[in-house]
Amino acid sequence: MGDFDFAIIYNNLPFLLEGMKTTLLLTVAAIFGGIVIGTVLAMIRLANIPVLSWVAAAYVNFFRSLPLILVIFWLYFLVPLILGRPVGAFASVLVAFVLFEAAYYSEIIRAGISSIRSGQAAAARAIGMTYSQTMRFIVLPQAFKAMIPVLLTQAIILFQDTSLVYVVGLKDFLVSAELIANRDQKLIEMFVFVAVVYFTICFAGSMIASRIQRKLPV
């Protein structure tokens, strides 16, 4: 251990922080976009609208059958092609993550909505609320509360998965660390550091998730 030179981390902290910012920004934006689109997909599937529900189901099954790395790769080439102009790695990766995560979130949210007793929706409809009011004020708030632990777990997985952006050269936390490691030949120090950071964040996250799980009424 005597040969370890951890000063390298301290000296490159601003650069590493910049990478972590990209990682976190991508994670948060993908969670947000994924949940919004996932909720819409879940509601379409549950509403049993003839063609739309089938399309939503096909979407979910399609993305859940593909490796994320492939989706990142494809969209890196596809998004500029569709838009007709270069958009940069971050934007294309963000689109890939949102589309991919939406499929997983929609399944979580669908299960969450289904877990709310049908009598709740009936009671809301009985006082004259519309379908969307019933969803917004009665079903979704309860469903999301019940889903918090699973959503958090999915967020942790997502946070780890963002490291896959190295395939398109986006400078996230891992890629930034790797750049420094190669430049200064400090592979062990940097990768130990990266592992500790990922572990700390993910472990803290899952602790929070299980604590919330315990507190929630069954």
């Binding site: 009598g119 009936a122 009671a123 409809r125 009985a126 006082i127 004259g128």
Partner: protein, 242 residues
């Protein structure tokens, strides 16, 4: 006010309602009873369109419920409904439960909704519990909040679907007292219940159902005095023998 004509409904190939015809006039209290599985809960849920029907016609005042073009939301906002399992909204306080429909459906102002909610909670004897959440109340208290929630919409009629079936015996009377008071105030009510004491006290008519059919539709005195059908006689002797 409520008119049901030849109402039939199927779940797949199973017929739950079979040519049901009955009515509830303004200010009338009609009790619907019958053995479990007889279709009485389904029948009452067709009145506000929570359950659709395949045949027949249901009219509430001038509105045809069974017409596809009818604005059911508007109709439902004028008919209160109380469920067997209360179905209070667990993520809201008691007060918010009674305010929500007034604000989101009727568009009443916050202060007006709150005043009305407090008044009604006082009327069902729960003014002190306004800030609590449903899970902190007993079943009987929750059901009284549910009644207040329905009344908050100024309904033209109230539907009760087995309102006391999920309650402990000592809670039942508190809920029935509120319902008797409502009936005496002239509220139009359709009540699915096994509480024959309630029926004897306030019902104008009793509808007896079995296997999806209305077997007997009689005034209270006729029903308890001399039920014509064997089925109703058996039912009464079973449930009144204790």
């Amino acid at each position: 006010m409520i008119l049901m004509e030849n109402v039939s409904k199927w779940y797949g190939s199973f017929q739950v309602l079979n040519g049901c015809t009955t009515s509830v006039s303004k200010g009338e209290v009609v009790v619907v009873c019958g053995p479990s599985g007889s279709g009485k809960s389904t029948l009452i849920k067709t009145v506000n369109g929570l359950e659709t029907i395949q045949e027949g016609k249901i009219t509430v005042e001038e509105t045809i419920v069974s017409n596809r073009k009818t604005n059911l939301n508007q109709l439902r906002s004028r008919i209160g409904m109380v469920f067997q399992n209360f179905e209070l909204f667990p993520h809201m306080s008691v007060l918010e439960n009674v305010k929500l429909g007034q604000m989101k459906v009727l568009g009443r102002a916050d202060s007006e909704s709150e005043n009305k909610a407090k008044l009604l909670l006082d009327r069902v004897g729960l003014a002190d519990h306004a800030a609590k959440f449903p899970s902190q109340l007993s079943g009987g208290q929750q059901q009284r909040v549910a009644i207040a929630r329905g009344l908050a919409m100024d309904p033209i009629a109230m539907l009760f679907d087995e309102p006391t079936s999920a309650l402990d015996p000592e809670m039942i009377n508190d809920v029935l007292d509120v319902m008797v008071e409502l009936a005496n105030d002239g509220m139009t009510m359709m009540v699915v219940t096994h509480e024959m004491g309630f029926a004897k006290k306030v019902a104008d008519r009793v509808v007896f159902m079995d296997e999806g059919k209305i077997i007997e539709d009689a005034t209270k005195d006729d029903f308890f005095g001399s039920p014509r059908s064997d089925r109703a006689q058996q039912f009464l002797s079973k449930i009144l023998s204790y």
